[in-house]
């Protein structure tokens, strides 16, 4: 664990010192997990993450450094880094995406070979959703679309579980598990699109009543 160049206290985060309350210069390329003083892993304690975010935000809040333009600028940069890191880590899919990237896994567009059966499934929902969108509220095409939701939710949960299994413990760089995990993540993206679509249909339906 590094120590503060100003007061020598042990640093929890490279962004600033909690003992002497000074923001510290940090490379912008530092891993979000490192900014939170955490070891990279897919499973994280969300509560702990938010607690640390709040704590470190207070240590490096730009308002505390209003008197010193240089420190204030540094505090602003570091606050931006901290917020960006929270965004990368808080939501499981973004966290998985981040871990795949740092482990050198394929990007989403590099894994196109989704199984035919899955793509057929996507095509089928898309047809049902398309018809529902064109139909009036309360009609059978709308009902048919809403019936998709439980199975989409179920499939999403199952795929997230698979991703968790693949990323825990974190696979080595270049391992096949990274490609498999990306394929699963891509599938979840398709599912999420359909679920978002369903949600907007549900809102339209509620409004019509």
């Amino acid at each position: 664990m590094a120590s503060c160049p100003h007061c020598g206290a042990e640093l929890e985060t490279p962004l600033g010192c909690g003992a002497c309350l000074s923001p510290l210069e940090v490379e912008t390329s530092v891993d979000p997990f490192a900014l939170f003083g955490l070891t990279p892993s897919f499973s994280i304690d969300g509560e702990e993450l938010r607690t640390r975010h709040l704590k470190y935000s207070r240590w490096i809040h730009p308002d505390y450094f209003a008197a010193d333009p240089e420190l204030r600028a540094l505090a602003e940069i570091n606050t931006g880094l901290l917020n960006g890191a929270l965004e990368s880590l808080e939501e499981p899919l973004r966290r998985a995406d981040h871990l795949l990237k740092v482990r050198g896994g394929p990007s989403e567009s590099e894994v196109k070979d989704m199984p035919q059966a899955f793509l057929m499934e996507v095509l089928e929902w898309s047809e049902v959703l398309d018809e529902a969108r064109a139909a009036e509220a309360g009609t059978p095409p709308r009902e048919a679309a809403f019936k998709l939701k439980p199975s989409l939710d179920e499939e999403r949960t199952a795929r997230i579980q698979t991703i968790t299994g693949l990323l825990e413990p974190l696979p080595e760089s270049g391992s096949e598990a990274l490609t498999t995990a990306r394929r699963e993540l891509n599938a979840v993206r398709y599912l999420d699109r359909a679920l978002r679509e369903l949600e907007s249909l549900r809102l339209a339906e509620a409004e019509a009543r």
Partner: protein, 130 residues
Amino acid sequence: MAYSDKVVDHYNNPRNVGSLDKDSENVGTGVVGAPECGDVMKLQIEVEGDTIVDAKFKTFGCGSAIASSSLATEWIKGKKVDEALEITNTEIVEELSLPPVKIHCSVLAEDAIKSAIADYKQKSSDGDEA
């Protein structure tokens, strides 16, 4: 972003939308997807001898993806199977004046043609063995 006139034309009047019987022996089906934008495209060909006599598509995606697949079906109809394999995404990009951010739509259409032909060839070779 502005779509070219040709994209708008294919989008408003898509050619060959629909489905062919995927269980038929002389029909090849290709389903491909672009995870980064959530597009999914189904392209089917009906082959007689070595000529593609009919082609249909169904695409859920943006205007460029719809236009690319519509154009692809137009182009492959009447072509020999092996000629259809030679169609590249670059030709689709040029014909539709697709901007760089939409190039993946043309790639999807090319992949769909190849995947439909591969499915057809697979079926016909299975038929020979039987």
